[in-house]
Amino acid sequence: MSIIQLNNVSKIYNPDTIPVYALNKVNLEIEEGEFTAIVGPSGSGKTTLLNMLGGLDLPSEGKILINQTDLQSLSSKQLIDFRLHNIGFVFQDYSLLPVLTAKENVEFIMQLQNRSKSEYEKRAMELLKEVGLGERMHNRPSKLSGGQQQRVAVARALAPKPKFILADEPTANLDSKSTNDLLDIMKKMNKESNITFIFATHDQRVIDKARRVITIDDGAIVKDKINTAIA
C-alpha cells in the first residue's frame, strides 16, 4: 500500500519571470516499509523533493498524498499537526535541543502529542536502548559524539510513531564506524518493525544499503532502481 503518492508534482520558482523548475512533473509512489535513497548531484532537486514529502514546502503544481491525505488541503496549523503525527525527521546536523538531555529530546516530541508521562517516559527509554544509548540517556547533546547525537535524532524521529522517516544527509557528518552503526540500527528497525525510511544522500554507504534508489536530476526522476539483492 502506498503511503506517499506524488502526481505530476512541480515546484517552480519565479513563475512570472524566468521560471526555474526545482521539480518537474514528478510522479512517485513509496510503499510502507521501504528503505529508499534519493540521490542526485547538488541542485538536482532532491532536497526540494524531501521538503515536499515532509510537508515543509508545497508544490506549485500537482498533488501530494500522504496516507491518502492531500497536503494542499491542510491549513498551516493542520499541516504542523500532520507532521507531528505522521512524519519523522532526521537532519544532517542532528538538530537536537542542546538544553535537553537525550531522553528529554525524545520525550519532548511525544509531549507535543499530549501523550501521558508514563507512556512517553517508557517509550523514550525503549527507543534509546534500541539505538544503543541506554546508558547515556541523561547526557545532553554536547556530551555525546556526532554518531550518538544522530542516534538520538533517530530515536526522536521514531518517538511519535510516524508513518515514515525522512533523513536528509544523515551520515554526512559521521565517520565510517558511526555511519555503519547508524545504518545498521535503521536497517534493523526497517526489517523488524517495517518502518519506512527515505534518505536524501550523496553517501555511497547509504546508497549501498538502500533497497530502492531514486536518482533525480534537473528536477526530474531519471532512474528508479530496486536492488533486489538487498533484503
Binding site: D57, I109, Q111, L112
Partner: protein, 404 residues
Amino acid sequence: MIAAISWRNVWRTRLRSLVIIMAIAIGLTGGVLSVGVFNGLAEQKMRTAIDTQTAHIQIHQKGFTDDYDIHYFLKNPDNILSVIEMDNRIKAYSTRTISELMIRTANGSAGVQLLGINPEAEKSISTIWESVVDGAYFEGIKRNPILISQKTADKLKVRVKSKIILSLLDTDGNAVDAGFRVVGIFKTSSSMFDEATAFVRQEDLQRLTLMEGVNHEIAIKVNDPEEVTPVIADLKSNLSEDLQIESWKEVQPELAYISDMTGQMNFLFLGIILFALAFGILNTMLMAIFERVKEIGVLMAVGMNKMKIFLMIVFETIFLALIGGFIGIIISASLIIWLGNQGINLSVVGEGLAAYGVGQIIYPQLSGAFYLQLILMVFFTALFSSIYPAIKALKLKPIEAIHG
C-alpha cells in the same frame, strides 16, 4: 517542558543573560532607591507639617482663614469642645488664638503669625516643644514670654531673655504695642514655617487683643490617621454649619498634592526605567532568536505549533526579567530597610531641604504593596519585551530556517 526549555535557554548564553539580568537589577535598585527617597521626603514633609503646624483636623469659624480677621472667632467653643471630648477616636486637641502682627526690636522687624497657645495642651498635638534649641518651652519667664524661631532670632538679632515689641491691633481696631521677652528659640525642619510663626501664651494674646476667652482655632489629633475623614464627617453632623472643619489635606492642599503626586510620580519614574530596560531585554531576546533560527525551524518542522513557540519565547523573556527583577528588589528592599533605619544625611543640601519643609536626614521608605506592584510591572515589561521577538520567531518559515 516548554517552561523547562525556556528556563534552560536563559542559561544557555550565560554571560549575555547575566549582563541583562544585572542591568535590570541595577536599574531597578536605582529606581526603587530613588522612589524610596522621594517617598521618605514626602512622608517627612507631611509628618513635619502635621506635627508642627496643622495637626490632623482644624476647626475655624467660617471666613477666618480668608484673611485671618480676628473677629471671626469660634462661637460657643464650650459646645464644640464637649463634642470633641465625647469622641474617643480623638487623641488630643488644643485651642489657639491667632493674630497676624509685627515683631520689632532695635535691630529690625518681622511679620509673623502669632499663635496664642496653651503650652501644655499644645504639647499633646504638636512637637514644637521638642524643637526648642535654646532657652525653654515657656519656662523661666513669667510675664509675657514669647517663643520665636531661630530664623526670626537671627533676623532680629535677639537671644533668649531679649526683649521684643509686638505691634498688633486689638478687637476695637486700636494699635497696641506690648513688650515680650524671648523664653525660647525653636527650629523645625521647615524654614518657611519658622520664618512665619511665633508662639505666646493664649491668655497673654487674649488680654492684649481684648478677646478674653476667644479661640480662633481648635487643632485636633486623632489616634489613627485613617480615621480623619469619618471623624470630620461626625463633627460636621454634630456641630454648627458656621464652622469650617478641615483635614490637614484641606488646610494645606499642597501637602495633599505632594502626597498624591508622589505615588503617581514614583510609578511614572519606575515606568520610564522599566521602559528603557524593556529595550535591553528585547535586544537580548532578538539576539537569542537570531542565533536559534535553525533550531526554531526544526521545532516547527517536527510539529511544535506556533502557540508553543510563542510561549517558549515569552517564558524565556519573563524568566530573564523576573530574575533581574527579584535580584533588584532584594537589593533595593535591603537598602531601603537599612537606610530607613540609619537615614541618609543630606546636610550638604540642608538649606534647600529646610525650604522644602524637611530635615537633613532622610529616611527612605516603601510599603510592601509597592514591591508587589513592582513585580507586576516587571512582569508586564517582560511580556511587552517578548512580543516582538516572539512574533519575529513565528514569522520564520521552517524550510527557510532549517536551510539557513
